[in-house]
């Protein structure tokens, strides 16, 4: 890009990518790669898994471009896909076999991974909007007002939903325990 060329808006690049211009999508990937890997890392707590989640999210986003509306914030739309992919990766990592005594005693990290994957499973049983609010506030550390504005709901409604979701999540985890 020359110095005199104005940078394209995300929506414009997304439209061009949807029309088949692969270069436009490449620009979007460059622009949002750091955000995508960072958001995934806050959920997976592992740099390698975060990269995998971000990569998968970009592929899913590319396939989902026809459903992207230009008035949407592309970054927010992509972030939601990244969060879903990160949760899927955590769920896939859930240990299927029970841990042996020594593993159980030895690994605080192993326990943390198990807890995170249990949470990811429970989160899958919660409605998408509620899950998004909970993850944005708890996992990404975003302000509730900012999340509410992003989702087009009031801050009060977001707070109520957050409270209910937390209670529901706890109930699911208690049932599973």
């Amino acid at each position: 890009m020359s110095a005199f060329e104005a940078p394209c808006a995300d929506a414009d690049l997304a439209r061009r990518a949807r029309d088949g211009e692969v270069r436009a999508f490449e620009q979007l990937v460059r622009r949002h790669a750091a955000m995508a890997i960072g958001a995934a890392a806050r959920i997976t707590r592992d740099a390698g898994l975060a990269e995998d989640a971000a990569q998968e999210a970009f592929w899913k986003a590319y396939r989902a471009l026809p459903s992207y509306r230009e008035e949407q914030n592309f970054g927010g739309w992509l972030r939601r896909i990244v969060v879903r992919c990160a949760l899927d990766i955590l769920r896939r990592r859930r240990p299927e076999t029970p841990l042996t005594g020594s593993e159980r005693a030895g690994g605080g990290e192993e326990r943390a991974i198990e807890a995170r994957s249990r949470l990811a499973h429970a989160l899958a049983r919660i409605g998408p909007l509620d899950r998004e609010i909970l993850l944005a506030v708890k996992a990404e550390g975003r302000l509730i007002a900012e999340v509410a504005a992003d989702l087009g709901i009031t801050a009060v409604s977001a707070r109520v939903r957050l409270h209910r979701t937390r209670a529901r999540l706890k109930k699911i985890l208690l049932e599973e325990a």
Binding site: D19, G20, V22, F25, E26, V29, R30, A33, A34, I37, G38, A41, R42, I43, T44, R45, D46, A47, A50, E51, A54, Q55, F58, W59, Y62, R63, A112, A115, R116, R118, L119, V137, K138, A139, E140, G141, R166, L169, K170, L173, L174, A177
Partner: protein, 128 residues
């Protein structure tokens, strides 16, 4: 202090449980439920906390993403104006072919009508 309260205090402090407390926990379902509930609370709270993971975009990340992109169908790869032109060309070809077949059928029908004699004349010729 009764053992349930002692255990509750120990759980809240987050300190490792003593052997006595562990033994009580083993035998008291109410305390076990409470312990589980507190553990889940801690897990939910800890979901977003913990040491920040160092993340950087690796140099090969963008090429890797681009290599793995699903190929769009050939038709979608055309620019929008070309897509319209292609659709118009296909429609025109179909319409042209349809017209050609139709006009050929009509002219063939007329030719048959003009060469064959009327049935009445035919029956007169045969002497009926």
């Amino acid at each position: 202090m009764n053992p349930c309260r002692r255990l509750s205090a120990a759980l809240s402090s987050g300190a490792p449980l003593s052997a006595d407390a562990e033994q009580h926990l083993f035998g008291c379902p109410r305390c076990r439920r409470r312990a589980r509930s507190q553990r889940i609370d801690r897990e939910i709270e800890a979901f977003g906390r913990g040491p920040e993971v160092e993340t950087a975009v690796p140099a090969d990340f963008v090429p890797r993403v681009m290599r793995g992109l699903p190929r769009p169908p050939a038709f979608r790869r055309l620019p929008r104006t070309w897509r319209w032109a292609a659709a118009l060309a296909v429609f025109s070809a179909a319409a042209g072919y349809g017209y050609a077949v139709w006009s050929e059928t009509i002219s063939a029908g007329q030719q048959v009508a003009s060469t064959s004699s009327a049935p009445v004349e035919e029956s007169a010729f045969l002497g009926f």
